[in-house]
């Protein structure tokens, strides 16, 4: 990757315009964490497996470790830091009320994935939850994540 070039790209994060100069291969994950110092988005695997790095780009949940800076021009990014004002407040409240997280490291990604699910599928069935909530939680909080999503959606547990 020695021929990787450094480039400058403009996009918005949680409504705020940003300009970042870095290797064009730098994943959005590290752009957020290192260059913009927004560390709510987590590194877990770097290969699209764990989902800890999930953010919304142009309204879609994506794994930010897979999206290089070069593809970000003009993008509208929402991170966990901006979730409350982008429709996630109910989920965040239920996460606390229902004691969902254990260590919490996977939970930013879980919340971002869950918010995207509910936006597109306001009353998800179990298979619909399974299809979208593919993130890894080593602490085993899956039963509570499912219960909290269902309560937020107002569907029977």
């Amino acid at each position: 990757m020695e021929d990787d070039t450094v480039e400058t790209v403009s996009f918005t994060v949680n409504g705020l315009p940003q300009r970042v100069e870095a290797y064009s291969s730098t994943p959005l994950l590290w752009v957020l964490r290192d260059h913009l110092e927004m560390t709510g988005t987590k590194y877990g695997c770097g290969i699209a497996q764990c989902g800890a790095c999930t953010v919304h780009v142009n309204g879609e949940a994506v794994r930010s470790c897979q999206l290089p800076l070069s593809g970000l021009a003009g993008a509208d990014v929402t991170t966990i830091e901006g979730l409350a004002s982008h429709g996630g407040a109910t989920l965040q409240r239920l996460w606390a009320e229902m004691n969902v997280p254990q260590c919490g490291y996977c939970q930013a990604g879980m919340l971002m994935a869950a918010a995207d699910l509910l936006k597109k599928t306001p009353k998800p069935s179990d298979p619909e939850i399974d299809a979208v909530m593919t993130n890894i939680c080593r602490c085993g909080t899956y039963p509570r994540i499912r219960a909290a999503i269902k309560r937020a959606a107002g569907v029977a547990a």
Binding site: M1, N14, T26, G40, A52, C103, G104, T134, G140, P143
Partner: protein
């Protein structure tokens, strides 16, 4: 290097100011809602290194706004230990729960102030957070602070303190209808010394412990992204390091060519770590388990402005290793073979002997060999830490399970006097034993020592974590039982167990030598041995160390005995537990009853049961005991579905029922993943698996079982015992035993996913 000019000591306030400035600078162009969240500086999760504010003890500070900060030496790992400590304090302090905050206590301060945080509360792990000693200690701190608040109010009002009540953060004098908030008298109260410390209130008067189930205090910051994990620490001037340790453990660095990558963007330094250059603590360490398992590994690292730059340069760095003698293990089966042969011919230690196994006379013999493989903790937050080292100071920000260990490892690596070293504990993205020895913190300090005067954040990639684990200790055990002709129960049991790995600390016999079957007299003749097969792959603590394997092995073996005797596995275990304390039988019966044990199931479906205790089954009314029943369905072509799990347990009493429930849910899924999926494999001495694509983890779409947790078998014995490790033990053998009853296939090794479960 000009970075030496940087202020070497960044205090906590500076951390807050720095992050606040960053956020404030960004806020200019924000919408009001975003601005509100961006403006709030992330709260530092660690406590101060010296007294501050209105402190009643270094453990408790009460501010004018009534907020109560409880400083806890045991960092939160997800099991609620800090919240539990705060509950203990609040129970006696009588403050409103909404006013409670927690911070990770400073171990620097502990050292400077006569071990104020570690007397009465070992600073390691979380799981022991509800035990009797810590509970009483923290309750006494709360009670003392409450009486001092009363004394301060009494002085103001000129009434006897005994006429004042304290509740919900309010002090009240009913006769004169006066009241004060705690915060209003905190300054005076903090200066008062009591002539005599108050008695603790009787349990019957508790309002929080055992009554309420507050969610973890850590959650709001987790849910809005402001929690500061180890990987999230931000400091002025901080740089990043990527690390690569020798791919085969025990190997060394031969050569590397820094010049090949020095010119790459952002790269500041390319360094080699040589364990021989580690310092040495100038004084005897005060760790719980010693520093012996925390040694540095030969490694190279790249320091750069940003992590991605460091990682890219490290990947380009030409490195030659001398891989050492570990390479002669072509794959893990060579190690398993070595374990078997040393177990059969080597000189073993006898760990339990009752009667004389050679005198047993029954005709039915049950004999089998079992194996559990290497496993990786796979904590979600990568290891690493941020360290700032100068010629005479060292300051570290890190996620650690044991702040004391992290502190002494940093002292040891730098060789500095303990008074010169500071550790700031952060939120922790999982541990499961992986953050007990702090060798990752040693590596971070070793890197920072070579780039002094600048805070360096070292992050392990996921690949580095998988390949440089301190793995679950593999265990190979051969069991033999001679069944009594009349009763079908074993007259004699002999067991020979082999551990792989050199690290004695992680060669434990829980679940092997301590079950009541072998110790209560139920089996008259028992002989159990252990031996160790030395191997270069480093073993370590993995949730319920060794117990997680032994539980599988012993509870599968007992099941085999039951089937050989033609006796129902629940009845068989009850007969073996007849001479032991009743809670075990109660737990077993409840789990079976709730699961609908004994019902007729179609071929291909089955139930299995297992019962275990952690951390020590041989002591009556000690630790926690759990029975798990699994119900499975196996299709003819061998696809397994674990449909339902029923769990009953006894830990004496329960302090926070929802916290216990969460641990049982999570621990059961952890144990299920361990049993179905997990094996770290070896090729030419190196670890093969590098990431989650090669090391599958259960996800929500993997038709996870319904988990039913039953509290009715709690004995009420006066203890609040631990629940973190235990659930990992019984689920695996329960599933394996269920597979046997569904298909007739006996699984004697994990992971199950690598075995053929098809049946005809």
């Amino acid at each position: 290097m000009n970075q030496l000019a940087l202020a070497p000591q960044l205090d906590r306030r500076q951390f807050l100011v720095t992050t606040g400035v960053v956020a404030g600078g960004m806020a200019l162009a924000l919408s009001p809602a975003d601005a509100a969240s961006a403006m709030a500086p992330p709260p530092a999760p660690w406590g101060p290194d010296a007294a501050q504010g209105f402190e009643f003890t270094p453990w408790i500070e009460i501010a004018a706004d009534d907020s109560v900060t409880v400083r806890v030496p045991n960092p939160e790992s997800g099991n609620g230990t800090m919240t539990q400590m705060a509950m203990n304090v609040a129970e006696e302090l009588g403050c409103a729960w909404k006013n409670i905050r927690v911070e990770i206590a400073s171990i620097h301060r502990n050292y400077a102030e006569n071990r104020v945080y570690t007397k009465g509360s070992l600073p390691f792990f979380g799981g022991h957070g509800t035990d009797k000693v810590r509970m009483a200690h923290t309750m006494r701190l709360g009670a003392s602070a409450r009486e001092r608040l009363k004394a301060a109010a009494a002085a103001r009002w000129k009434v006897p303190a005994s006429e004042i009540t304290a509740a919900e953060s309010m002090l009240s004098h009913t006769a004169s209808k006066r009241s004060l908030r705690y915060g209003e008298v905190a300054a005076e109260a903090a200066k008062i010394s009591l002539l005599a410390e108050p008695e603790l209130k009787p349990q019957a008067e508790w309002t929080l412990i055992g009554k309420a189930s507050p969610a973890k205090l850590s959650i709001p910051a987790i849910a809005d992204g402001t929690a500061v994990f180890g990987i999230d620490v931000k400091l002025p001037g901080m740089v990043h390091a990527a690390l690569k340790q020798v791919p085969v453990m025990g190997g060394r660095l031969k050569s590397f060519k820094p010049d090949a990558v020095k010119h790459m963007p952002g790269v500041r330094a390319v360094i080699a770590i040589d364990p021989a250059k580690s310092g040495k603590s100038p004084v005897k360490d005060e760790t719980s388990f010693g520093l012996g398992n925390s040694e540095a590994q030969h490694a190279v690292a790249v320091v750069a402005d940003h992590f991605w730059q460091a990682k890219m340069a490290l990947e380009m760095l030409p490195v030659e290793w001398d891989l050492g003698s570990g390479t002669h293990y072509r794959d893990q089966t060579d190690i398993y073979e070595g374990m078997r042969s040393i177990r059969d011919v080597g000189e073993s230690d006898e760990v339990l002997k009752k009667g004389d196994v050679s005198t047993a006379t029954g005709k039915r013999i049950v004999e089998a060999e079992y194996l559990s493989p290497y496993g990786e903790n796979a904590v979600m937050e990568p290891l690493g830490g941020t360290a700032l080292v100068t010629s005479d100071t060292c300051e570290v920000w890190c996620a650690t399970q044991d702040t004391m260990q992290a502190f002494w490892v940093s002292v040891d690596e730098t060789g500095l006097a303990p008074a010169q070293v500071k550790i700031h504990g952060t939120a922790m993205g999982g541990n499961f034993g992986r953050r007990t020895q702090a060798e990752d913190i040693r590596m971070a300090v070793a890197v920072a020592r070579q780039y002094p005067g600048v805070p360096v954040k070292t992050i392990w990639t996921r690949e580095e974590m998988f390949r440089q684990g301190r793995y679950r200790t593999p265990i190979s055990t051969k069991f033999r039982a001679v069944l009594d002709d009349a009763s079908g129960l074993p007259q004699a049991v002999s067991g020979d167990l082999c551990f792989a790995g050199d690290r004695k600390l992680f060669q434990l016999t829980q679940g092997y030598a301590d079950p009541p079957y072998f110790n209560s007299g139920a089996i008259p003749h028992v002989k159990l041995t252990t031996i160790n097969f030395p191997v270069h792959v480093l073993n370590g603590a993995y949730r319920g160390p060794c117990f997680n394997s032994n539980a599988f092995i012993t509870e599968t073996f007992i099941d085999e005995c039951a089937h050989a005797a033609g006796i129902d596995p629940v009845e068989y275990r009850l007969a073996l537990l007849a001479k032991w304390e009743k809670p075990w039988s109660d737990v077993l019966k409840l789990a079976a009853e709730k699961a609908g044990w004994g019902q007729k199931l179609p071929r291909g479906e089955g139930m299995g049961i297992a019962i275990t205790n952690w951390p020590m089954a041989t002591i009556p009314h000690f630790g926690s005991t759990m029975a798990t029943v699994a119900r499975v369905a196996v299709s003819k072509d061998g696809v397994l579905a674990v449909k339902r799990i029923d769990i009953a347990f006894d830990c004496g009493k329960v302090a926070n029922a929802d916290a216990v429930r969460a641990q049982i849910e999570g621990g059961t899924l952890f144990g299920l993943n361990m049993t179905l999926n997990e094996e770290v494999t070896i090729r030419n001495g190196a670890i093969v698996e590098g990431n989650y694509d090669e090391y599958p983890m259960l996800r929500m779409g993997d038709s996870l079982p319904e988990i039913h947790i039953h509290f009715e078998a709690l004995s009420g014995h006066d203890r609040f015992d631990l629940m973190g490790e235990l659930p990992v033990g019984p689920v695996g053998p329960a599933v394996g035993n269920a597979i046997y009853s569904a298909t007739g296939k006996r699984l004697r090794a994990t992971p199950f996913r690598k075995q053929d479960l098809s049946w005809t």
